[in-house]
Subunit: 385 residues, 2 copies
Amino acid sequence: MREVAVVGIGMNKWGELWEKDLRDLYVEAALLAINDAGVDHVDSMYIGCMTSGLFNSQEHLGSLMADYLGMTPIPATRVESACASGGIAVRMGFMEVAGGFSDIVLAGGVEKMTDISGDGATFALATACDQEWEAYNGITFPGLYAMMARAHMKKYGTTREQLAMVSVKNHENGYHNPFAQYHLRPTVEDVINSVKVAEPLNILDCSPITDGAAAVILTTVEKAKELGKPIIKIIGVGQATSTIALHAREDIAGMDATRHAADMAYKMAGKKPEDIDVAEVHDCFTIAELVVMEELGFIERGKSGPAVEAGETKVGGRIPINTSGGLKSKGHPVGATGAAQIYALTEQLRCNMGVCQVEGAKVGLAQNMGGSGGSAVVTILEAES
Amino acid sequence: MREVAVVGIGMNKWGELWEKDLRDLYVEAALLAINDAGVDHVDSMYIGCMTSGLFNSQEHLGSLMADYLGMTPIPATRVESACASGGIAVRMGFMEVAGGFSDIVLAGGVEKMTDISGDGATFALATACDQEWEAYNGITFPGLYAMMARAHMKKYGTTREQLAMVSVKNHENGYHNPFAQYHLRPTVEDVINSVKVAEPLNILDCSPITDGAAAVILTTVEKAKELGKPIIKIIGVGQATSTIALHAREDIAGMDATRHAADMAYKMAGKKPEDIDVAEVHDCFTIAELVVMEELGFIERGKSGPAVEAGETKVGGRIPINTSGGLKSKGHPVGATGAAQIYALTEQLRCNMGVCQVEGAKVGLAQNMGGSGGSAVVTILEAES
């Protein structure tokens, strides 16, 4: 298996981008990544996108994006695993390069979520849960994550304030990210007093509806050296599934797919949780970040609330999480999020994060998941010193 | 790169399956494939599906299918490239085994197309063309392929009767396939007198709306030998793209993505068109089979019509095509079609095709495409003698 490096990254300013369509968004991020890598072609492409069929009445993104990038006839494949689509696109690109099938792969993700009217986005996102057992009966994602939050609070004593502190931290980080959708600095009180969505989650506990894209260029370490780029290697990847419906899960205060994906990635990388210097995790709701911290082994089970309260996950803390602002502040164009996590970690490992730079960061971990945790992908990056 | 073999195949009887849902269809085909292979687990899974979001309000098929197969936490990824989704799922599985990432992979496809009401299926399928330039302006797939037919007729003198003969041949083959949606034996006159859809294409030139799934088990040749299965190797795969919109294509009487994908597959396999004993190609409309025969190099450009008329593509002819009945007679559950082609070729190479068996068939080729040919995947199989 060949060693793989991230040599180029690109993303747009995320938000409600009324003047851009699906193809504009992806092409822009892809060209930025290609330009950053300094390559004159790519051999293959993976596009993560959750539901452009429902959001934009457009499937067949491989052909669409290869076409609009002027890259036909290269192979181009869209992968979908709900909100884990972008992370899985990167994993597919990794396998294609590591396996020797291609030398240079463009892997990214996109979602254009604001083209749909009324409560269309809520309906479209609900296709990530079990349609027949969950969505059809009226539950949507805030409700599912609210149940997880209640379970975690009951089982481990996690407090409402600790949930809010995740939002406050991520917004503080995102305030410094020029690409983030929001540049707000809410307080714990602001979060607790914000509009209720699904008890105990308020609007400031929820990631937003976002238009955006992100892309990375993957190649061999050998080729990365030729290109004169800093060597940021992908040293571990893992992907796993769990039940699609929350009610079928053994423990709804946990997320077993993330645990399994992390185990695979740690094993491949030869690393342990304590070796990770910085992480981007899937904080679609504040509770998700807490549960995920535990499943990744960053903290003992049930202790994530107090750890956030103690500042362990802030920049400068023991294990800084979501220094890019996370899904909460940066935004969550669902298919793009996983690729944007790799963007953010690469910036960290290149020491480009400004006030959010984690000093001496060498090893970063990205955790991206779909649905209520029914799929997860974990990627570990390491900067060659 | 490790050698890869198809050791298990499964599919349902296709048709309008009102009593089965999306997950039922896929799980049934997958279990049949697993049973056929005689394996007790799989390491990973790829699911080809075009637009379960629009057809069934259900995305996130990786989690859904791993869950309902009782296979969590294995990695499970849905791939989409319109009607080429199933073929691409098999290519992904091939890369995962060949690259040494997994030993046993389940690759398949599914589409449940009859759950949508009114003209919903036509709308859903149109998301495979360019929404902004084509679908929005009212054209749908029969119209796009009708333009290709007109161009081929004008440029090469292909006749209406020759188009009809593709349908007659495929229905004759499908008549003997117990899994086929239709067991009809139309004549050339029947096709020509059937309901007009888009001049010159009539209803009997068009593949139908179908519910169905198909799946295959891929493993190393070494493991296939341990399992005591006939060794059917995947010796070549190719995937390519073209413009998503037909108007942007250099020649609408050709399909360049298929040509490029075939070039890749032939090169990897070390084979030429004349080495192929039997083929399954993407006859979504009768004209498609003619154009594809030319792009695969089975016949000189512009000569496909006379070749069909001369019986060259019948069972017993020079290069039998769509001995399973093809999309026309077997049905076209869009995400499943590419996987079902591998099913059919494996049956040929195992000498299980009964009256449609091609005597002495050793090398088979599958060609699966999306949209109006904006993406294509070609797979070459060889039976070890």
